[in-house]
């Protein structure tokens, strides 16, 4: 009876895993297959990957630049903002905390539309990479603020600050010596989330991009629509290679921050 139940569990889990993984594996394999219509018997090749690089290298570099830009903004704006919110007592600060998360609930398309309405006529900005970066910052900043706030709340920051102040530490030293080191697990988890989200972001970027400011996911959509299946699949493979290590690191950092919070 128990063996049967176990067997059933394994079967269901296996099916679910297969359902999720097989399309991804198929796609990855297609990316290195010489001719998709003749199957694997046509041989393996890296030509398609090279072709992707030739056509779309600029989108890879752009995505990386924008992800790093979003990360820099999240660190420079998000960490101090979380610090200020954690220290501020009162209802206004709690209301702002909720408000900060609002972009998460609004579809990326709506956010992009708002940006276009506001800045669309500002041509130099509209066609530059900065325009996309602004969208990504709006979208990713709440994740950093949330991650850091959670750690600050768990360590009772105001009490630690009072303790440091009683020992003679002026405000800037409390920030450097107490707030930042104790927030580190939250900052790390937030940073990985920001980079991963930025690299994979499509909705908002698709609305904001111009032919000269394509990011990797926008390029993917472009290749799916207009290239051979092998090229599109090879492109997906490139995306996997970039984003998988980030996802693994994110899981690890989130687990670490969780352990810290507990």
């Amino acid at each position: 009876m128990r063996a049967a139940a176990l067997g059933f569990q394994i079967a269901v889990t296996g099916l679910a895993v297969a359902f999720l993984l097989i399309p991804a594996l198929m796609s990855a394999v297609t990316g290195v297959t010489a001719n998709y219509f003749r199957g694997l018997s046509s041989g393996l090749t890296l030509d398609w990957v090279a072709r992707v690089w030739e056509l779309y290298a600029s989108t890879v570099w752009r995505s990386m630049r924008i992800a790093l830009g979003a990360l820099a903004a999240a660190l420079l704006i998000g960490v101090p903002a979380a610090y200020a919110l954690a220290r501020a007592p009162g209802r206004l600060a709690r209301a702002i905390e909720e408000f900060v998360s609002l972009p998460l609930a609004v579809p990326g398309l709506a956010l992009a539309l708002a940006l276009l309405q506001l800045y669309g006529t500002w041509r130099g900005f509209r066609i530059s990479e900065w325009f996309i970066l602004v969208g990504h910052v709006l979208y990713t900043l709440p994740f950093m603020i949330r991650a850091v706030l959670a750690v600050f709340a768990a360590i009772d920051l105001p009490k630690l600050e009072e303790a440091a102040a009683a020992l003679g530490a002026p405000p800037w030293r409390r920030f450097i010596d107490i707030a930042v080191p104790n927030a580190a697990p939250g900052v790390l988890a937030g940073a990985l989330t920001v980079v991963t989200l930025s690299i994979g972001e499509f909705n908002l970027t698709w609305m904001l991009h111009t032919p000269l400011t394509k990011t990797l996911p926008v390029g993917l959509a472009d290749s799916y629509a207009s290239m051979r299946l092998e090229v599109a699949s090879a492109y997906t493979l490139v995306f996997f290679v970039m984003v998988l290590p980030l996802l693994v690191a994110m899981q690890w950092a989130a687990a670490r921050a969780q352990g810290f919070v507990r």
Binding site: I155, A164, A166, R173, I178, P181
Partner: protein
């Protein structure tokens, strides 16, 4: 003796909502004294401590003085106080030694000197073995000692402790209470600690200030506080005295169940109270006061007997553990020497 004398002049604290946590009060703590701030929760004792520390600002007009110098406008980091928080607030990103040395590091003391001082202070607090531990590897009692070591490492002028024992479990608390009393005397520094536990206050402090509803109602040595409470509320709060009621006539206090000797002279509106240890069960033939037992609770070293009908309210008497006092029985009561507490009738603020 070292440390500064503390003086509070007209210090009050009104919170933004309008609640006055501390009413205008005056308090002097002489150099080297260990003062306990005792009161029920919400009486303003922690706020008063935070006003001394500089973590709160008094309402305009109030002054805080250390050794006669006005420090009212100085923020906490400039007051040079040592503070032990209720939750200890140890820095989780530093080792024990890092925590204890932090105050010196902030002051720019040289590394070798910090290490020497940290070692010295940890030894003083019997915590040398903990130096390289992480904060989350410490037990409650160890945390308390590290918090204390961190507070005294900078040689503060005043040591302030907010409920230093309340985060510990009951068994540990009693042991560490005596340990804390010893340590505070070893530091020989002016110290103020907050507690809601009268046994803690009486055991540790040189002098206890009893607070109620934002006011200091009495500041006295533990013995004086116990023997001569300022009013009926203090008598009830410290030592659990019960009101007898009754009227005085010819050097006796006449009560529903008889009378007790109460040699005068008394103020015209004096009130009489008695603690559980102030009365003794006695043979009814010798007793002048009689009541009925409503409950008897065996507590190991004594029998706690509740008695009705003797005084105007219920009385609690601590009798010998083998005393015969079954519920329903009528027992005689005798006053122990010094058992009667006489306080002036005062208006009792709500």
């Amino acid at each position: 003796m070292s440390g500064a004398a503390i003086a509070l002049e007209g210090v009050a604290r009104t919170f933004p909502g309008g609640a006055q946590a501390v009413r205008p009060c005056a308090l002097v703590v002489p150099q080297g004294e260990i003062l306990g701030l005792l009161g029920p929760s919400g009486c303003g004792k922690t706020t008063l401590l935070r006003l001394i520390a500089g973590l709160e600002r008094p309402d305009p007009g109030g002054r805080v003085l250390f050794d006669g110098r006005d420090v009212t406008r100085l923020p906490v980091e400039a007051r040079h106080v040592g503070m032990v928080f209720q939750s200890y607030a140890l820095f989780p990103n530093m080792t024990v030694a890092g925590n204890v040395g932090y105050g010196l590091r902030v002051r720019g003391v040289r590394r070798a000197e910090i290490a020497a001082r940290v070692e010295e202070v940890l030894a003083l607090c019997d915590a040398s073995a903990l130096a390289s531990r992480r904060v989350d590897q410490l037990s409650g009692g160890q945390r308390q000692r590290v918090a204390l070591a961190r507070a005294v490492a900078v040689r503060p002028r005043v040591l302030l402790l907010d409920e230093p024992l309340s985060a510990l479990d009951a068994a540990l608390r009693e042991r560490l209470r005596d340990e804390l009393a010893t340590l505070l005397r070893r530091f020989a520094i002016t110290a103020v600690f907050v507690t809601h536990d009268q046994a803690e206050a009486l055991a540790i402090a040189d002098r206890v200030a009893v607070m109620r509803a934002g006011r200091i109602v009495q500041a006295d040595t533990p013995r004086a506080l116990y023997a001569a409470p300022a009013d009926a509320w203090v008598a009830r709060f410290v030592g659990g005295a019960a009101d007898l009621g009754g009227v005085v006539s010819d050097g006796s206090l006449l009560l529903p169940g008889g009378r007790l000797p109460a040699p005068g002279p008394h103020a015209p509106r004096a009130r009489f109270l008695v603690r559980p240890g102030g009365l003794d069960l006695a043979d009814r033939s010798e007793a002048t006061l009689v009541g009925a037992v409503t409950r008897a609770t065996f507590l190991g070293d004594r029998l706690r007997v509740e008695i009705d009908g003797a005084a105007e309210g219920a009385l609690v008497v601590d009798a010998a553990p083998d005393a015969a006092a079954a519920p329903g029985a009528r027992v005689g009561l005798r006053l122990r020497p010094g058992g009667l507490i006489v306080v002036p009738e005062a208006e009792e603020a709500p």
